[in-house]
Amino acid sequence: MITHSKIRCSLRRFPLIGGIAIAAVCAGPTSAHKDPVKPEQLKIYQEVFMEEVRKGDLLFHGDQKMAEQLGVADDLSKTGMACAMCHPMASDTHPQSFPKFQAQIAKFATLRDMINWCIEKPNQGVKIDPESEAMKALEAYITWSNTGSVLQPGKF
């Protein structure tokens, strides 16, 4: 019990770290109102994720309707080029290598920075909001398509 309360104390100092998962583990006997995760819940979480992947897949492949739906139809490309034209199956996007020093941008960059660079340079489009749903969907598709790739942050 002593151990538990100590952990709870230390958690209080870092209330944001670890979020829900740590809270569920540590709450333990003192507040036993949590249930084990249910298959239905997992299914919902997965569906939410795959819906983002689907949207991202369509944006990545130049689907105009999806771009309109997400409010980026005039931004992603002005040349007819779509991401997938240079990156079939999101190959060569290397999400596993970010963050890193990105030579083209000449700065330390995230995958979202690089997505916006591709929109601006090869596609001659207009940068999108890094927090936008379109950006998150693109990120979801790119990382999903590279499932199984080994993290190599910083790699050229």
């Binding site: 897949d57 369509l58 997938a84 034209m85 079939p88 199956m89 083209q104 499932t147």
Partner: protein, 379 residues
């Protein structure tokens, strides 16, 4: 997919590459390559880094040309209407001017397919217009981007029969149509011509299936075409797709490659020059050697698996430079019976990898096929 590919590869090699069988000895491969006219030798350090240090792209063909000559290759221009994309137009203009400026001039130009991006009349006609700069004879084969909007109607009006043959100074040249025999993926789903084209125009699409093929009828035609040709004399075959299996998920193959090799097996000196892959490729299967050409439009990355061991990869390109990783090719059939391929890659002095970091597969990746084109709207 990987296991299946592996099995096919083993089968391909046991059937077509029994021990000791290679392209005829006179088809000597040297390490020489010509880049912007200058002779380049591979550095030893690179040879060590890539254990399978390749061969480059100089072919010696015995009994080849009666007199030396050159020809030129341009492909994969993927033109959009001029109002949408001027970069692709500019690159075709540059390639055409450079081919026309060749001195001594090329005897002919091969256009290797994917003239248009979405098969539109406007795009195909723009291509014809831009290539008018080139005054030597021009021979065209189709790419999938040229075909699937109107099933080759406009292409046929402009260029005629998609497969053809001619002899030139002791070499038999054959142009193949590897794109028009795709399985019907559109009728049952009531696709519009634009939708049909859209699926075909997506390299990593999952809807069009294994569309690349030569077809029994064309195989028979090729067999007949070669029947009167001395088996020791050189044959050069042009096709849009490679005539072996490199990476079927992107249709970097023809599905009936086994039958193609059955037809070509008796001939000792066959060279296939192909487009579609937008990258430097080299392979040998049985007595057939294959060379992949650059696009003028944009480069494709190497496939995640299946890159022929004999390929010395092209250098990893800078996506910020529209002239990097793209260009055209000069092919030189010399008096000493060599066929030399020179990649004119605009953005580079060095076409090939110089260090492991120069290879686009230096960052290892595992990737998977897309899903959305099969989910929507044809659920």
């Amino acid at each position: 997919m990987s296991d299946e590919l592996d099995r096919i590869r083993r089968e391909m090699h046991s059937v077509l590459q029994p021990e000791g069988v290679r392209p005829d000895d006179s088809l000597k491969i040297t390490r020489r390559t010509f880049i912007h006219g200058s002779l380049v030798f591979g550095a030893a350090t690179v040879g060590q880094a890539f254990a399978w240090w390749p061969l480059l792209n100089t072919l010696d063909i015995a009994h080849a040309a009666e007199t030396p000559f050159k020809f030129a290759w341009i492909s994969d221009t993927h033109l959009y209407p001029r109002s949408l994309n001027t970069r692709f137009v500019d690159k075709v203009v540059r390639a055409a001017q450079e081919v026309q400026a060749m001195d001594p001039p090329a005897d002919f130009l091969i256009f290797g397919g994917d003239l248009a991006q979405l098969g539109k009349i406007e795009e195909l006609e723009l291509g014809v217009d831009l290539l008018k700069e080139i005054k030597i004879p021009k021979h065209y084969i189709p790419g999938e981007h040229d075909w699937y909007l109107d099933m080759g109607k406009k292409w046929g009006e402009l260029f005629g029969q998609p497969n053809w043959t001619f002899d030139h100074k002791g070499v038999r040249f054959i142009g193949l149509d590897t794109v028009s025999r795709g399985p019907d993926y559109w009728t049952a789903k009531n696709m519009t011509p634009e939708e049909r084209m859209g699926h075909m125009a997506t390299l990593d699409g999952t809807v069009a299936g294994p569309w690349a093929g030569v077809g029994r009828d064309q195989l028979d035609w090729m067999e007949k075409t070669l029947a009167d040709w001395d088996k020791q004399r050189p044959v050069v075959i042009f096709s849009h797709n490679p005539l072996y299996e490199y990476y079927p998920p992107w249709n970097f193959w023809v599905r009936d490659w086994r039958e193609v090799h059955e037809v070509l097996k008796p001939y000792a000196k066959v060279t296939n020059i192909h487009g579609h892959v937008h990258q430097v490729l080299y392979n040998e299967i049985g007595t057939l050697r294959s060379i992949g050409m650059l696009a003028t439009s944009w480069p494709w990355p190497y496939a995640p698996e299946g890159l022929p061991k004999l390929t010395k990869p092209m250098i990893r390109v800078d996506p910020g430079d529209p002239y990097d990783g793209v260009g055209w090719s000069k092919l030189d059939v010399a008096a000493n019976d060599q066929l030399e391929t020179e990649y004119i890659m605009w953005g580079r002095k060095e076409v090939f990898v110089q260090s492991p970091e120069d290879h686009d597969k230096h960052v290892s990746e595992v990737i998977r096929p897309r899903i959305a084109d099969n989910m929507w709207p044809y659920r």
